[in-house]
């Protein structure tokens, strides 16, 4: 049996589970990326590009040893969160997105908390950043609730962006 360069662990995150993305996640992913709600995470994008997010996600795990999980609630994919470190990133980022109809349930907080803790334990990623657009009030609130603090302004993919810094785990409450 060939051993691959990565395994994507399944994580228990309270009410939700973090698991590897799969091709069958295309429909909800493409539906999210078809809407303006994806404007803060690279969208909107056509369906063919949503497929490339799935394969690119698996490639990211292989190349970096870490990446983004799908957030599953009652077996249903409802979003994504985890670590992104592509060409053009200053350093590994903790990112998240919750798909339509699943916001406001505290899903992202639980999921991102679990991903962040696993990053410290398993990937040596501690005190990471999150790139957040200044008009993304919902994500700013979540970052602050997670204990992250505004660090600096930057320009990210030609748009103004704020860098939030997550606390080192031993400093976190």
């Amino acid at each position: 049996m060939t051993r691959f360069a990565f395994e994507i662990p399944m994580l228990d995150a309270g009410d939700v589970t973090l698991r590897a993305i799969q091709e069958s996640d295309l429909e909800p992913l493409a539906a999210f990326y078809a809407t303006e709600r994806s404007q803060f995470v690279g969208g909107p994008l056509p369906r063919v590009d949503a497929w490339r997010i799935i394969s690119g996600n698996l490639g990211h795990w292989a190349l970096r040893g870490y990446g983004m999980w799908v957030i599953a609630s009652d077996q249903q994919p409802v979003g994504m969160c985890g670590f992104i470190f592509r060409e053009g990133w200053d350093e590994p980022e903790l990112g998240w997105q919750v798909w339509g109809g699943h916001e406001g349930r505290g899903i992202a907080f639980q999921a991102v908390s679990a991903a962040r803790a696993h990053g410290v334990r398993a990937f040596g990623l501690n005190g990471v950043i999150s790139y957040i657009r200044p008009d993304n009030a919902r994500s700013i609130r979540l970052a602050e609730r997670l204990g992250a603090a505004f660090e600096r302004e930057t320009v990210f993919f030609d748009k103004p962006c704020h860098v939030y810094r997550h606390p080192k785990m031993e400093e976190a409450a």
């Binding site: 497929w51 490339r52 690119g56 292989a62």
Partner: protein
């Protein structure tokens, strides 16, 4: 802060087999192929017929996309290595992302490796692998009008123009149909090399 170097995976990025020809090795993508691939994809003069990118970020994402493609489909683009020098000469393989009309046999050579028959030798081997190991019964190659070099190679591989279609990224493309596995010669090659 930097990504801890200890997190750099050392196991193969994909399950791609290692295939050999007289002059070449076809193998899965490796970390060391990233820069040659980015150089190719961001060089519009070279990659316009393949799909060019105007920035390193998108080119890097294409590299990861190919790695993930291997995991989803069990096939993708091999890196072509020149057996004698060990240099990375280009890519060839089977490509089938969402939106593609059919699985495609594709190829591209990096700067300095054209005119030596490398693409033919590599693509013929990848096609043979797809027929004998993956069980494909047919393959196509999508070629942008004006890419005469690729048309010549497709024809040398025995493929014929079947129709044109609109590719989701490339616009109008010609779809070439390859001879099927029934055309395999006894020695395992799809046809005698010229």
């Amino acid at each position: 802060m930097q990504a801890p170097s200890s997190s750099l995976p050392v196991a193969p990025l994909t399950q791609a087999p290692r295939l050999e020809t007289q002059n070449l090795i076809l193998r899965g993508p490796e970390h060391g192929d990233i820069e040659p691939m980015i150089a190719f994809l961001t060089d519009r003069e070279r990659s316009w017929g393949f799909g060019s990118y105007d920035n390193r970020h998108d080119a890097w994402r294409w590299f990861g996309l190919n790695v993930g493609h291997w995991h989803i489909h069990g096939y993708g683009y091999f890196t072509i290595e020149d057996r004698e020098s060990g240099e990375v000469a280009g890519i060839t393989g089977v490509w089938n992302p969402d939106g593609w009309p059919e699985p495609e046999l594709g190829w591209a050579l990096f700067d300095g490796f054209e005119g030596r028959g490398i693409a033919h030798e590599a693509a013929a081997r990848a096609r043979e692998w797809a027929y004998t190991e993956l069980g494909f019964m047919t393959l196509t190659s999508n070629i942008v009008p004006g890419n005469d070099r690729s048309v010549a190679l497709a024809e040398r591989l025995g493929a014929w123009l079947e129709r044109t279609y609109q590719n989701v990224y490339m616009g109008k493309e010609m779809l070439y149909r390859h001879p099927g596995p029934e055309s395999l010669d006894n020695d395992g090659s799809v046809e005698a090399y010229a």
